[in-house]
């Protein structure tokens, strides 16, 4: 997890905890899950790009 992602996760949790209405809290918690999903997808894409770029047979 990058610093940016860790910061985002922490902020989203804090904002979620500040909500008194259940459905509002649900929105911020779900947004935190979306951010985690974005981070994971970013990792996977970066990994695939690295893997496909690292092609000694094409040197």
């Amino acid at each position: 997890m990058t610093d940016n992602q860790a910061w985002l996760h922490q902020q989203l949790q804090t904002v979620a905890q500040h909500q008194t209405k259940f459905t509002d809290r649900a929105f911020w918690v779900a947004l935190d899950h979306l951010a985690a999903e974005q981070a994971q997808r970013q990792d996977q894409l970066q990994g695939e790009i690295d893997g496909r770029t690292w092609r000694p047979d094409k040197w």
Binding site: A30, L31, Q38, E48
Partner: protein, 230 residues
């Protein structure tokens, strides 16, 4: 998107699950109707509501592997042959039909060899056939199992899963999820306490930036794949 939610439940007010869904309804874009609250149906009005909706959601508990009687009663009255397909005009064509079904048995029971030995998709076959006949798009069913056993975290997740099922563009991809949240973020930030509002805006900016980075990575990858194909 306009969504019409038709609920079939003989004891709606006493159902904690249904009341939870009702409290979770998005503030805009959704019309909610109880099929059990009406003894007879105003067919013209019901058909007009269907014509106006982009997405129609049938919501009910599973009673002996089917929907409660009111859904069949409503279908018989409102979904006349002439209305659905008889005159070859197909007024429901291209609308989406989805089901929110609740069960007293766990998810793992609904599979071949499971306690119920039947899948939810199999049980929904008549409704999926109806969607096909009406030239509608069938949405993957949202099944909620054993609501009363859910803990608080799961219930929090269910609120948004339900809202997205009602109003998010299909299919349920990361891109569509991002767009759904992005559309709602400004209003949610505006609702925050003044001390949190600046953070809310920073969160919005960071999420947008992450989405942009993802798009850039996907473009790069697509380019590499294209070169690999050569």
């Amino acid at each position: 998107m306009q969504t019409l939610v038709l609920v079939a439940h003989p004891h709606l007010a006493d159902s904690t699950t249904q009341q939870f869904f009702k409290a979770s309804l998005p503030a805009t874009g959704v019309t909610y109707e109880s099929l059990d609250a009406q003894e007879t149906y105003a067919v013209d009005r019901e058909q007009a509501a269907l014509r106006q909706a982009d997405r129609i959601i049938l919501q009910f508990p599973l009673y002996w592997y089917a929907a409660p009687a009111s859904l069949a009663r409503w279908e018989a009255a409102v979904l006349t042959r002439t209305f659905v397909y008889g005159d070859r005009r197909y007024p429901l064509a291209d609308k989406e039909l989805g089901v929110v079904v609740t069960t007293g048995m766990p998810a793992q029971a609904f599979r071949r060899g499971g306690l119920e030995n039947v899948t939810i998709d199999t049980l929904m076959a008549p409704l999926a056939a109806l969607a096909h006949r009406a030239h509608m798009t069938w949405l993957p069913t949202m099944a909620v199992h054993q609501f009363n056993y859910l803990d608080e975290t799961q219930k929090l997740q269910l609120v948004v899963a339900y809202q997205r099922y009602l109003t998010q563009s299909a299919p349920d991809t990361l891109a569509n999820r991002q767009a759904w949240f992005a559309a709602r973020l400004p209003a949610m930030v505006a609702k925050l306490a003044p001390k949190d509002r600046a953070i809310g805006k920073l969160i919005t900016a960071t999420l947008t930036q992450q989405a942009d980075e993802l798009e850039a990575l996907m473009a790069t990858l697509a380019m590499i794949k294209e070169q690999d194909d050569d």
